[in-house]
Symmetry: C2
Subunit: 548 residues, 2 copies
């Protein structure tokens, strides 16, 4: 039996586009002699559809898509992910389902049993978990068809009380198929491979795994669909960060040898992977929103430099406009570094000095400010004046403003709300400053694109004379480690201090994170590259008093 | 038996404050001869605690609070809400629990079975649902102790497959106690009463219901704890929107007659209730964040007028600063209306003309803008220049900026991001424009506080000559009805058009709502007063193409 794996990039709610793409792949699979073609989780509507799933009309359109798709399933069968109405009088109104289409009919519907409801997942919001599981019989094969999380209750994963695959194994499964929408995180790929491999080994079955690819605002689905032999070895691995299509011959899988994913504490390709994820995040945000041009403020610093370099790669250099807006406190070398960056990348740039503008704001406020010291107010006026210029250019010419904040500064609130925290998309908001440096070196791996000076000079917001980030913040190599323990690993102050970090510094850092929640609440969606990004996957009360 | 109902306002994560308050009420109840004192759901940490519940240290602090509290439970018993660790190797790590404290010990723990996971609720994110339920025996009473949603599976509510109260009734319950954290919505109070009354009648049992009170950022818990006799009549009803304390004598409940809440389609007190909810929302945001002074831009229009009036009531008139920032397009009457409002309220105000500022921005941009028409860009520059002034005053003097956007304009994206959409708290973001008018009339019910001219003149953003909202938007009485069908009732275009609304207008409105999701993503938390507010309870994809 030949099975096609269709790794597609869907557009949420764009039924016409998704349906056409699915039908196209069915045709291709048929032409290439496949018996079955497999699509990813909730492929007809795209994952995650959010509260659109609560609209009757949205679900109607999902069924209408299935109707169009099934008409193309003659001489070939297809497994397509879609929501399915729960017709029983009890429980949530939908199931997260896989539809088996054959002979132009919906032959069977398979429903997800384990619903992830943590981090960025909230499937219990919409779906009733299935409690009964049965085998799909097709051309003499007994297929255990599961949906993403269904396979994640192996070993001692404590999240769930049931295990759908146990039930299916008892029914004599001869092949596993899992359809997924599993988002990228730099340390997740290996975990995913290991879990799938262990399933295959545990049940001694070959497995077809089809993942979604493409970015949906914050979430980047990285693809990497796979075929495992019955020993849990990966014998086929599809491309990452792009669409792909593959036909595998089931009879040959058993004879192929591959590799068994091993435990890895570190991802040696971390920076490469983050780069690709962020690039795809930008690309899909623009293409799916119908925009083509980006704008950003260039400070001469490393965050805006890395953002511009990746955006230029994603959108084309000619579509990324840098705006240099020196203030009274900007150093000459900053302006030169920014200009050099734009020139290295072949990106257009403009220079708009803001000194006169900030002076006018200060003059207008002077009646109330007189006698008061220069403080964060005047710093913020500079950042906000820049935002007004950037947004004016954005409004006039249809640019989308890229936010250039990194995760370290977003964490501790080191940024101006409605100033440098503006932007439609946060490119580096899930990348710690130390990793921003690593990205810069990665971008420069073949030649100097980001001026070395931007990498080597001490980070500074340049909002007052001779300012350095380290005046107000700990050094980033320490700060980032504390933040990682608190944000990604959810350790409290006591636990972090017990690891050897300075007590006062740790407590100050955690307090800064908690008290700047109100700022992060108002910022752009952050392209998620870690296991815990700011945004939809981290729900913290704003009004709270907990020092962590 | 005498039972005390302690309706308290908790501060999330502020264990010291919450514990002290709980102990104080235990003492008071004891002094007044109560046998048992009942606190609301998750009272030790406050509801909702969000992802703080994922921190080991946070849960440790909950247990430590219980230890302190139980020491005061001699001669009196207490029911206190707190998270409880799931010690079994399977399932989510916590239960949402009620601790029965007696003789300075934790005697029993009761766990929530029905976990709400819709709208603003996401309890499956943290909690494992209980599947076993048993009676609490105390002084000869068999108490069916349940937690909030546990009672919401009566009749044909399709959300859940189980019903804890059925189990408890079979065990011979003689009294029901329900501890809750049920947030306000203008049409929810009656629904809540009816559901509780039906439970009491169905099982023919008296019921004690203790709700949380107080605002937690977006959510306003309205209190209104109640005592029902065994016929489902409300015999005691505690205050709304404030803390309260009541001792009820169980032996007398059966002899008291009260009223049975009836079905009501409309809430006749809707505007009063919204006013009180918003007022408490402001008050608690400030007090819990440690701020006392608010600032807002006064346009002379009705949104800023209503916001200022409620803020003055919540915080004291002297603590609310209005800033008038006329542009070249501001009419004289707008400035006069704004000034009159501030004077009527006895609020301080300042005037900062922005004409020179916007001209400077335009001059600086002229090299790129020359030959291009005045458009939304120049409109936005005005709104953003105002935001810079407001935030500068906020930064310098510690004011919190109040956002004055209403729900109608937030819905269709009629507002300037980083301009009039700025602010730490959205006061009217869940109030449709037609209800803002009703609030204005309510505020003026005894005397003219909001200048009548602000109420009567056609709404205008005054960002270009002779502009009116109705130039770009449908009349609010129609717009609001369409928005209500789409947002609150989640009807699609077809269903709304079938109700008689204009087809093109409906489709345009829904498209505006969907395409302005990116703006709402970046705005302040909205005080929730309806069953579907923008913010945490409405999760819509930004990158999507679904016209609704």
């Amino acid at each position: 039996m030949k099975i096609a794996l269709a790794q597609n990039n869907y557009h949420i709610g764009n039924f016409e586009y998704n349906t056409e793409k699915i039908i196209n792949r069915i045709q291709r699979a048929k032409e290439q002699g496949a018996d079955l073609v497999v699509f990813s989780e909730l492929s007809v509507c795209g994952y995650p559809s959010g509260d659109f799933l609560e609209f009757t009309d949205y679900i109607n359109q999902c069924y209408a898509s299935l109707d169009k798709i099934k008409a193309h399933c003659s001489g070939i069968a297809a497994i397509v992910g879609a929501p399915d109405r729960n017709v029983s009088p009890k429980g949530k109104p939908l199931y997260n389902a896989a539809f088996f289409l054959e002979n132009q009919e919906i032959k069977q519907v398979y429903r997800k049993g384990l619903l992830p409801n943590y981090d960025i997942f909230d499937e219990y919001r919409y779906f009733e978990p299935a409690t009964e599981f049965s085998i799909l019989e097709f051309k003499g094969k007994k297929i255990a068809l599961t949906i993403c999380e269904d396979l994640w209750n192996l070993n001692d994963n404590p999240l769930y009380t049931g295990n759908p695959m146990e039930t299916l194994a008892r029914q004599g499964a001869s092949l596993m198929i899992n359809i997924a929408a599993s988002p990228f995180a730099w340390n997740h790929g290996n975990e995913r491979k290991k879990m799938l491999s262990e399933n295959s080994r545990t049940y001694h079955l070959p497995m077809i795994y089809v993942n979604q690819v493409g970015a949906q605002t914050e979430l980047v689905f990285d693809g990497g669909s796979m075929v495992f032999n019955q020993n849990g070895q990966i014998v086929e691995e599809m491309n990452y960060f792009e669409e792909d299509f593959l036909i595998t011959d089931l009879e040959l899988i058993g004879r192929k040898s591959g590799y068994t994913p091993a435990y890895q504490e570190e991802n040696p390709d971390k920076i490469h992977d983050i780069y690709e994820a962020v690039k795809l995040g930008i690309k899909d945000y623009f293409s799916k929103m119908g925009f083509s041009k980006a704008i950003l403020g260039l400070s001469g610093g490393i965050d805006s430099a890395v953002t511009m370099a990746i955006a230029a790669d994603a959108l084309g250099a000619e579509n990324v406009l840098g705006v240099l807006m020196p203030s009274a406190f900007s150093s000459d070398h900053s302006v030169n570094d920014a200009r050099e960056l734009a020139e290295n990348l072949n990106c257009p740039y403009k220079i708009i000095p803001i000194k006169e503008t900030t002076e006018l704001f200060e003059k207008s406020l002077a009646p109330w400010f007189k006698g008061l010291e220069f403080d964060v107010t005047e710093e913020n006026i500079q950042a906000r004046a820049r935002a007004v210029y950037l947004m004016a250019l954005s409004n006039k010419f249809g640019y989308v403003l890229m936010n250039t904040s990194n995760k370290s500064e977003a964490a501790v609130g080191y940024g101006t709300l409605y100033g440098d925290m503006c932007g439609g998309l946060s490119v580096l908001g899930d990348v710690y400053k130390t990793d921003v440096f690593a990205l810069a070196r990665y971008i420069n791996r073949n030649k100097e694109i980001i001026p070395v000076n931007s990498i080597l000079k001490p980070p500074s917001a340049e909002l007052r004379p001779n300012q350095k980030d380290s005046d107000s913040l700990p050094e980033y190599d320490i700060l980032d480690k504390i933040l990682y323990q608190y944000i990604e690993l959810r350790k409290g102050a006591k636990e972090i201090i017990a690891m050897g970090f300075d007590s006062a510094l740790t407590q100050r850092t955690l307090k800064l994170v908690n008290t700047s929640e109100y700022k992060r609440h108002q910022t752009a969606p952050v392209i998620r590259v870690s296991s815990k990004a700011f945004g939809m996957g981290r729900k913290m009360p704003i009004v709270a008093k907990y020092p962590g």
